[in-house]
Symmetry: C2
Subunit: 342 residues, 2 copies
Amino acid sequence: MEIERKTIYDIAEHAGVSIATVSRVMRGETGVSAKTRRKVEEVITRYNYQPSAYARGLTQKHTKTYGIILPKLANPNYVMLFEGAYDEAAANGYAMSLFPWENMNDAGLDVVEVLSERRLDGVIICLEFIGADELETWRNKLTAIRQYMPVVLTGTMPPGLDFPSVTVDLSECVHKSVEYLAKLGHERIALLGGFDEQLMPYSRDASYRKALEEAHLPMVDQYRVFGRCTVEDGKRQLDEMLSHLVPSQWPTAIIAANDMVAFGVLHAAEGRGLRMPEDLSVIGCDDVFYTEYSNPPLTSMRTRQTEIGCRAVQMLLDESVRGQETLPCELIVRRSCAQVKG
Amino acid sequence: MEIERKTIYDIAEHAGVSIATVSRVMRGETGVSAKTRRKVEEVITRYNYQPSAYARGLTQKHTKTYGIILPKLANPNYVMLFEGAYDEAAANGYAMSLFPWENMNDAGLDVVEVLSERRLDGVIICLEFIGADELETWRNKLTAIRQYMPVVLTGTMPPGLDFPSVTVDLSECVHKSVEYLAKLGHERIALLGGFDEQLMPYSRDASYRKALEEAHLPMVDQYRVFGRCTVEDGKRQLDEMLSHLVPSQWPTAIIAANDMVAFGVLHAAEGRGLRMPEDLSVIGCDDVFYTEYSNPPLTSMRTRQTEIGCRAVQMLLDESVRGQETLPCELIVRRSCAQVKG
DNA sequence: CTGAAAGCGCTTACAG
DNA sequence: CTGAAAGCGCTTACAG
């Protein structure tokens, strides 16, 4: 399918002007006579002319396009992040290109290469579950990318990465979750931490221990399980934990790393005949859209992903505000947590 | 942030060759002496050189990038479609740019403009809920886009649009749903059709009537309600329908236009104190990921969105296969439909 | 207010 | 096997 597109030369010729004048009209520059402008505009409309973003990208320094790299889109959380970023970018005249990290890997594509050849004006990179062994690789990749374009990080920030970022305070999420459950009378509170704490001690686990201490609750090793933040692994994590414990020692409440993990827990627990929230309270994190429709509706910590995406774009737009920002979280109570019967 | 990027000239200079030779090495062309190649590759690696996609886009006919336009990402269905398309494109060396239709509208962007300036090698456009009054506008837009690049349609195809497409057979979905519910003994089967049938008689409603007839079931006007395919509107549609009927005439089963609508129905029905599936059976469409976790787990018609996305890309890749394809659907039984008590 | 010309960073015949 | 040169479709000083 060979398609002949009109170029600026065609328009100039038909309008009887130079290409410089067409360019001026296209860009809405002042300093073109009304008559000339009208004539050019007429021809542009007639031929439905659209300038090539490639030619523009070549001549101009900027491309008016940002990129965003997400682990995957299957987690609605990331969809919210994307939409927040997309909307803020669009409102400022920027396009937003999406690169799903997982799919890129499957296709054998390298982030650095893909980003670099695209001449983006900036990129938002959402990190997830970076083990200590991967940290160095990541640091190198990010540093390479930063050579070419401004980078703003989000997601779960590993410690010691000196990049501008917008994240939610995961410590606060866990802390508030423990507090809430303790207030409901729970004494056996477990954490499905979402990453292997052996590899990289993030703040989630530390914050869990601290909150437990503050609530004068004992720390039981078997109540801490780690893994990936997916529904499937949530099921696996619950099964693993329960299999190491006699039923009388089973936790009465579970803090899941995110809502996906929590959905997995709900599903696995239901499969084991547990009633929720009577037998087991579950609290998620992120307050994804579907939390209202799970069985039971999931109590969760809202992490404002849309706002994070928006804020990340603002950081890209305004170079002066490049710090490490942290947004607060908020407890959304639904029906997956019960008061412990006294 | 001014960033100095290496160009092909820098590499050529450092390697002591011409830019043509660098270009040949970059593109893996044969006919470069091993020695020269090695030298050039060394310099490329040293400077981490990446050619500009913009310069390439200018010289070459193709850009190795497809686009996909979706109504919105909030429906996981569309996420699946995107991922299917993305993966197939990546596997063939193509990038995939996402344009969320709803967000574009909010930002006041025009599809035709956005697509046209990007010189994509093709675009997949996912249609949804096109009323008769909008059909002409759409036909014009699509025709304009087709001037510039190959187009493959998907989603809900309005009749009389002569474009290549891959869709699922919605008639079949509805037909199978009615059949299944009739087999369970339901006689009062309602349809939340997902679009306003007054505006544009799609095949969903027609197929519903036909299936009802085949099952020797009466057609009750109040059992047909139409609206948007969202959770919110699903709630509204159920409320609207029930408010027009005395409880003894309430339907015992509901066919929802998609899973989002079905989730809305489950939620609204639960709010009304109905037990599901005993008091009300609900069947969704698309078999979105979350169907397993709703309350109760949702029986749904699987529509293979991932496969559709993949197939759409294949159509773009292979120009010879540009028909109007229809993929079959499949009933996935969970726990939202009950046998009617005799 | 308008145009001629250089340049952005590549690819692609065309010579040699 | 390698290079000089034209060209892709724009923007941007620079003249006038």
